[in-house]
């Protein structure tokens, strides 16, 4: 089963969320929010990593995942899986940050959590099933 189109679609969806949050960060505008905590999360110290917005890092990661879907082979599948798993683990850390130290939930972050989980599952499935030289 060719999973690359599904991974690409999920990466585009995740990239759209990350792009919006990156725009919100640099434009210093309030994100559209129904959970009430988006701006608090966006303006917390957890929204940056070494001075770089985590939303921008997420956008770059989704672009990288998208790039792996353009290439056949186990190496590209492995790279996609690593990116997906890194994304899931880091999103889990940020979810903890929202629930504990920040004390606010951002709907865009929750949406990203869902998308990155889908991406990770698909990328791992692709890595396990991608035709290779073995």
């Amino acid at each position: 089963m060719n999973l690359r189109p599904a991974i690409a679609a999920a990466a585009v969806a995740g990239g759209a969320i990350a792009a919006y949050l990156t725009y919100v960060h640099y434009a210093h505008v309030a994100p559209v929010c129904t959970t009430g905590g988006c701006e608090k999360v966006q303006r917390s110290s957890y929204a940056e990593l070494g001075g770089v917005p985590v939303a921008l890092l997420g956008l770059l990661a989704y672009i990288a995942v998208l790039a792996t879907t353009a290439v056949r082979g186990v190496a590209a599948a492995f790279a996609g899986a690593v990116l997906g798993l890194v994304g899931v683990a880091f999103s889990g850390y940020l979810l903890w940050a929202q629930l504990e130290p920040i004390g606010a939930i951002c709907q865009w972050c929750l949406g990203n959590d869902v998308v990155i989980s889908v991406v990770a599952v698909l990328c791992v499935a692709r890595m396990l099933t991608e035709p290779g030289p073995e």
Partner: protein, 229 residues
């Protein structure tokens, strides 16, 4: 083949764990530029506010035709960013010439430790040192809800701001400070405060308007100048 792929999966998981641990160690949620020590990293507060009238929560001439109300939380890193990057320019170009006065509104949006800082800030208003103490607390800002706003930090900030720390701590829980906190919270609620920092510009004979502006000096000043026209 199946065994090789499972080994590959294990390698991917291990790589992901290493990367994420490194990312967290690098600093998500940490503030590399600021510490919670008592020493002041800046000594410019005196120059920043010298010669600028300060009364209570207001900075600038009471006769200034326009008011910029600033809603802040002492734990908010973006508030600190604005204070560090743009406040000096705003004071120099708008407040000192008498075009604008600044009104501080401290609101607790981050956590209980913010209230301790806000009480100290409003207590400093009784010495007409509110803005100085706000700056001095930002110099010492730690991670949100890490409990960095302590009596020790407040005393150190007060000393750096040229204020009486013991008097600030004594007045922190006074009814007048509580009343100011409640008034700021009501004001924030009335405008549907989206977060901090939030800036409200009030020009003569005009309705207050929210100023959406970048937090750097040139970007903020451009937006402010446009709003004041």
């Amino acid at each position: 083949m199946r065994r090789n792929r499972l080994l590959l999966l294990a390698a991917a998981v291990a790589a992901a764990v290493i990367v994420v641990v490194a990312l967290i160690a690098v600093g998500a949620g940490k503030d590399s530029k600021h510490t919670v020590t008592g020493a002041s990293p800046r000594s410019t507060h005196a120059q920043l506010f010298t010669g600028v009238p300060q009364r209570g929560a207001t900075l600038g001439s009471p006769a200034a035709p326009a008011t910029l109300t600033v809603f802040e939380d002492p734990q908010c890193p973006f508030c600190r960013e604005w204070n560090e990057n743009a406040l000096a320019s705003v004071i120099g170009d708008f407040v000192r010439p008498g075009k604008l006065k600044l009104a501080y509104r401290g609101v607790n949006i981050i956590g209980p430790n913010s209230e301790q800082g806000l009480r100290a800030i409003y207590a400093a208003a009784q010495q007409n040192k509110l803005w100085n103490v706000v700056e001095a607390l930002y110099d010492r800002q730690g991670a949100e809800n890490s409990g960095w706003i302590t009596n020790r930090v407040i005393r150190a900030a007060a000393a750096a701001a040229g204020a009486n720390g013991d008097a600030i701590l004594a007045a922190s829980w006074s009814p007048s400070v509580t009343a100011q906190l409640r008034a700021a919270a009501r004001e924030a609620s009335a405008i549907g405060l989206p977060g901090t920092p939030t800036f409200i510009v009030q020009r003569p004979l005009s309705k207050p308007q929210q100023l959406n502006a970048p937090l750097d000096a040139s970007g903020f000043e451009s937006a402010l100048a446009a709003a004041l026209q």
